[in-house]
């Protein structure tokens, strides 16, 4: 029988729960055999955080003997420093909070220190250990995360290289096209400059599509990274709309906001959302109607709305428009360009900022896409 149990503490737990308890050795043998057969680490701690038992997988992977771990404070033995080597005070350890919380806790990035002093990246679930209705401690099950972290890193590297490798030739093509456009700009005898400006506009579209695809891959892999800074949302809105207007001179985008509206979040990603929504609105609306963008500060949040007078969304489609592949299933939009994943990417970015995004629309009356950004986020 490999499951290591602390006789003293296990017995304590059982004695507390019933006065007439006797270990059924056969039952215990079976339970321990079951725990040893589990392909992940399982260990139990009492309400003071002392190790009650540890299964074979955990003992093997961590390299502790039963003498080294049973009855010992788990945090002090296996959890004493963060991954970067800084001290991890016991008071900050969630283990102690688990003893008072009744619901399971999940964590997909944690470090457990092995007996040989090296760190093991793990993901774990902690569940309350309840015996006869009374909370006696916590059972922690953990999995070795090393391979997953390596895969995640490879995915990050791949997406970064893919983005770089695809955009590098686009950069060169775009620059040469613009050089040619400049060259022909003064030559009124040909249409070359006009055609080249079309090519340029399509290169911009291609770049945006590429970025959308890369972002979707990152979101799916849970690897979309965010930065955090305080910035003037109104100034960002103006800059973003001006930049978009420059690339789409045949459309009118109006903007109404209020000066000096500060928000904390990822400036680039918020700008990306605005560009996405404005780009969608211009694509689906008639050329003679402006796209109207507003920023309205409320007591607790900012509301940003993008209104167009285009084809709109059928009402029964509204609940699904933020799905990743919504556009593919909407035949009415099949004649318009784009992959339609911009709304999905936008909604993920807004969710990350603890905001909400919604669409009001009906067929042929246009659409208003609004999102909120909370002034004070909960941590």
């Amino acid at each position: 029988m490999t499951v290591a149990r602390s006789k003293e503490y296990s017995y304590d737990v059982c004695m507390e729960s019933t006065n007439n308890f006797e270990w059924d050795e056969h039952l215990l043998h079976e339970k321990n055999a079951l725990l040893d057969s589990v392909g992940e680490g399982v260990c139990g701690v009492d309400r003071q955080g002392r190790c009650l038992f540890m299964n074979r997988y955990a003992m093997n992977i961590l390299g502790y003997t039963s003498e080294e771990i049973l009855g010992k404070d788990m945090h002090t033995v296996t959890h004493h420093h963060y991954a970067d080597g800084t001290n991890y005070p016991t008071k900050d350890c969630p283990l102690l909070r688990w003893t008072t919380q009744e619901h399971p806790i999940q964590c997909d990035q944690e470090i457990i220190w092995k007996q040989d002093g090296t760190a093991l990246p793990v993901e774990y679930t902690a569940n309350p250990l309840i015996i006869e209705g009374t909370r006696r401690g916590t059972v922690i099950s953990f999995r070795n995360n090393t391979q997953r972290m390596e895969r995640d890193q490879q995915m990050d590297d791949f997406l970064s290289i893919a983005s770089h490798e695809l955009k590098t030739p686009i950069t060169t093509i775009k620059a040469f096209i613009q050089l040619l456009e400049k060259y022909y700009a003064t030559d009124k005898t040909t249409q070359a400059a006009v055609y080249l400006s079309r090519v340029d506009a399509h290169i911009t579209r291609l770049t945006n599509l590429l970025q959308d695809l890369i972002d979707v891959s990152k979101i799916q892999a849970g690897r979309l990274r965010y930065t955090n800074e305080i910035f003037d949302l109104n100034a960002l809105m103006k800059e973003t709309i001006e930049a978009f207007q420059m690339t789409t001179p045949d459309r009118t985008i109006t903007y109404k906001g209020k000066p000096s509206q500060y928000f904390e979040g990822d400036k680039h990603r918020i700008s990306q959302v605005v560009t996405n929504l404005v780009s969608n609105a211009s694509t689906y609306s008639p050329k003679d109607r402006a796209v109207e963008v507003t920023l309205t500060p409320h007591k607790n949040d900012f509301v940003i709305s993008v209104k167009d007078y285009g084809v709109g969304f059928p009402e029964d489609h509204i609940p699904t428009v933020f799905n990743r592949f919504y556009r593919a299933s909407d035949k009415t939009r099949a004649n318009f360009p784009g992959l339609g994943i911009g709304l999905y990417v936008s909604s993920e970015i807004i969710k990350h900022h603890q905001g909400t995004i919604q669409i009001k629309s009906s067929r042929d009356t246009g659409a208003t896409v609004s999102f909120t950004l909370p002034k004070h986020k909960t941590t």
Partner: protein, 122 residues
């Protein structure tokens, strides 16, 4: 030390196409352009003379442009040369901060963006 009456712009990128097109664009605007493909070539140029501005790619084979930039910014001889970070990454401004660079240019860029950025720092 060699001097030029017109500003010299040193472009560092491991992609031949990018080097060629930036060279053409800036030369048309009467800048003197030196294009290099590696850190070694960059150091060779700097031994000989200092450019008015450096356009520096981030993701080059075997070397991180941010490290090159930080190194140049910590060297008293080169710290005053404006450095513009070029990257296809959407977080190019963060990369420029990490590199202690003066400015940034996101790829793909418009010719006008390139020229405005260069003029801002020369």
């Amino acid at each position: 030390m060699r001097t030029h009456t017109i500003p010299t712009i040193l472009v560092v990128d491991d992609d031949e196409g990018i080097l060629e097109v930036i060279d053409i664009i800036l030369t048309q605007e009467k800048y003197h352009v030196e294009a290099v493909r590696s850190e070694d070539q960059l150091q060779e140029v700097l031994k000989d003379h200092l450019p008015s501005l450096i356009l520096l790619d981030v993701l080059m084979s075997g070397v991180d442009g941010r490290e090159i930039s930080r190194h140049l910014k910590s060297n008293p001889k080169t710290k005053n040369i404006p450095i513009i970070i070029m990257s296809a990454n959407t977080k190019v401004s963060t990369k420029a901060e990490e590199a202690h660079a003066d400015g940034y240019l996101q790829k793909p860029f418009d010719i006008n963006e390139l020229l405005e950025t260069v003029r801002r720092y020369i």
